[in-house]
Symmetry: C2
Subunit: 411 residues, 2 copies
């Protein structure tokens, strides 16, 4: 049996080989909190083993980020440093591989001024617009993953002591990535193949609308654009044609809604950790696609600010299906981390849409807009899946097909 | 009595208040290894207490730096990333305060290709030329300091276990900065005043040459330019006129030699840790200022490369006097870190000269050159002080004055 450390090494290699499909001579950028530098080093070693040209780091720190929001001068939240913008611009422009290690205390920014967070988000959205566009279009390979931090581990496993919570969260993360001590790459490829099978079934049905209902009160109709397709498991890098997995773990298949084609009420089924703040027991009412009402028992100010960063932030940009009996869901854990929680439940995102339309890569922005693709500088997933969720699809010829029954795929 | 932690907090405040003279609304940049992030956080908190506008970080990591030198593609050593250059350019251009925490294993790059290190140094010299010029001219306040790292502490205290070595090195560093649990700022100011008194004595004497001799074999005559002055303890920021201390600790008073006015042989009295390599038992022969011969029992390839990065690298740029009974010297420790070792012994630097000339700030580059100011993209201190060092000054009227006798000031 492999040790935890050996499995962590397998995980690092998985992220590079399957997550990014890192090529010889390619530049690798790693986002990593300084507190988890050891894992970045593990990835860097694995990357050089694979012939990576150079590893460049984008370090972050929860403590300094919080101090900044609490105590820096007010004007600094309206711009992004030119050197930060340049890093994102240059690495993405040359098609560098990007490993984003999301590891943060879910409530790191609790009590910070929600307006400052919103302003920083707007500034970042503007300054990194090119980068985000390239990311959305898969112009470079990118992979979002996570490693435990002590604050986060204690939040997921509040009954455990620090080191035990860390170890337990590590084991959980490795399980969700199918790193089991065997051939991690082969496991991952088999999993990706299963997700792709699901997208093929959905793509053949080519639904016009999906109707969501559950006991929380969700009653929502979502129109899907003509020539939409469902994606999942692996993406194709536009510049190289190579497959990569943008999220590890990933249990979702997803497409986009018609921007103005969403009607009804939707209730979140899990809390949302957004910019270091926790939003809980929240929901939206939508008319002609627009969120006309938003409420939350906890963190409503952050939520209201988040859907107001620009016009597109109050429209949906993603429709994702995840069975309620997916492995992450079965763990019964609340991760307070979108990468995991989104893979435990059906979800939507408000904000920027992934252009899952056949031929999108050759369409002008106006044409994409005309087809209902939402544009925004933000993209925030929120979970809506429950054990009693039903989703009914309506095909072009008006046939009603049960897509989800009791929280799971019925297809 | 204060705890170690309380003294570390005093030290952080000292670095900001006396080292940088940080002003309300000012930007603060911190160079820090990720492994010592906790100390950067301590400094950031203290900086925000003082009304700092924002703290921006320039993180580094020994492990990743070594991996890069050993395994990255060859071409990456000939350029500096535009985002790195932009960070140095923007922060220095706006007069931001710069705290450089030097904390590294002295032999981190042992065994790495000396040519790669040299090429990286040349690339960095070119890309950061503006920054270096502004730093040399004190156009922004900067302070070099150190905190222990485990590799470094073990090297200084090889007989101690890791944590004990770290604690001992911390205590030593605090002592050298006169952080004794009392009023650290007042201690530092008194020390600076004593260094300034020394510069005044030397400036009144206005030596034309200094003649160095000791039992190691050093026999060197150094011409000092007309209207040179000795500096030490505190610098004046050109843009604000505020005093700051560019090195903490600092025991030196220093000026510049006439570029072409150095003749003879000089032996190093301590090893030199240069770019993560140790150079030991080395020396130079100089003719008309130029190093015409360099030798080292250890690390000669790194030394030869270092004096060859450009034309000015083989000429001297600094003459510094430190008594052999200075507190750092009395500790008897070898720090393998220039910031400390240079303050334990008289030293020179090869490379760029600090323009310690009255009126230098209004002189054109050609005039500075004509007066004998050396220019280089590098500046490397090396120690020459010994217990038997004698230095004799010759004044404008030919009078011989003993400056150092038996390693200590005789003035």
């Amino acid at each position: 049996m492999k040790t935890l450390r050996e499995k962590q090494e397998d995980y690092a290699r998985l992220l590079l080989a399957e997550g990014l499909n890192l090529q010889k001579g390619q530049l690798l950028a790693i986002d990593c909190p300084v507190a988890e530098a050891w894992f970045a080093r593990l990835c860097a070693r694995a990357a050089y083993d694979m012939g990576c040209r150079e590893v460049v780091m984008n370090w972050s720190d929860d403590v300094l980020a919080r101090e900044k929001y609490l105590r820096a001068a007010d004007e600094v939240f309206d711009s992004v440093h030119s050197w930060t913008a340049d890093f994102y611009e240059k690495v993405s422009a040359e098609g560098g591989a990007w490993l984003a290690i999301h590891a943060s205390d879910p409530e790191n920014l609790k009590g910070c001024d929600a307006r400052r967070i919103q302003r920083a988000q707007i500034a970042s959205g503007k300054a990194l617009a090119n980068f985000r566009k390239r990311e959305t279009n898969n112009e470079f390979p990118w992979c979002v993953c996570s490693v435990p931090t002590e604050g986060w581990a204690k939040k997921v496993f509040p009954a455990l002591e620090g080191p035990a919570a860390m170890e337990r969260l590590w084991e959980t993360i490795l399980e969700t990535a199918y790193v089991d001590g065997g051939d991690a790459a082969a496991n991952w490829r088999a999993h990706v193949a299963e997700l792709q099978r699901r997208t093929e079934v959905l793509n053949r049905l080519a639904f016009r609308t999906l109707h969501y209902q559950n006991g929380l009160g969700t009653d929502l109709t979502v129109a899907l654009p003509e020539s939409h397709f469902w994606a999942g498991g692996a993406e194709k890098c536009l510049s190289t044609g190579l497959d990569f997995s943008a999220n590890i773990p990933s249990e979702e298949v997803y497409t986009l809604p018609v921007k103005t084609g969403v009607e009804g009420v939707v209730y979140a089924s899990k809390p949302l950790s957004l910019h270091g703040n926790l939003i809980d027991h929240f929901g939206f009412e939508l008319k002609a696609g627009k969120i006309v009402r938003a409420w939350a028992e906890k963190g409503e100010d952050v939520l209201q600010k988040a859907i107001a960063v620009d016009e597109g932030a109050s429209y949906l940009g993603e429709v994702a299906l995840v069975p309620y009996d997916s492995p992450i869901s079965r763990s019964g854990l609340l991760f307070y981390n979108t990468l995991f929680d989104e893979n435990a439940a059906c979800h939507f995102a408000f904000g920027e849409a992934y252009p899952c339309l056949t031929g999108a890569e050759t369409m002008a922005p106006e044409e994409l807009r005309a087809r209902g693709v939402n544009e925004s500088m933000t993209h925030v997933d929120f979970m809506v899946g429950t054990a009693d969720l039903s989703i009914t699809g309506v095909t072009a010829d008006g046939r009603e097909v049960p897509v989800f029954v009791n929280g799971n795929f019925a297809l």
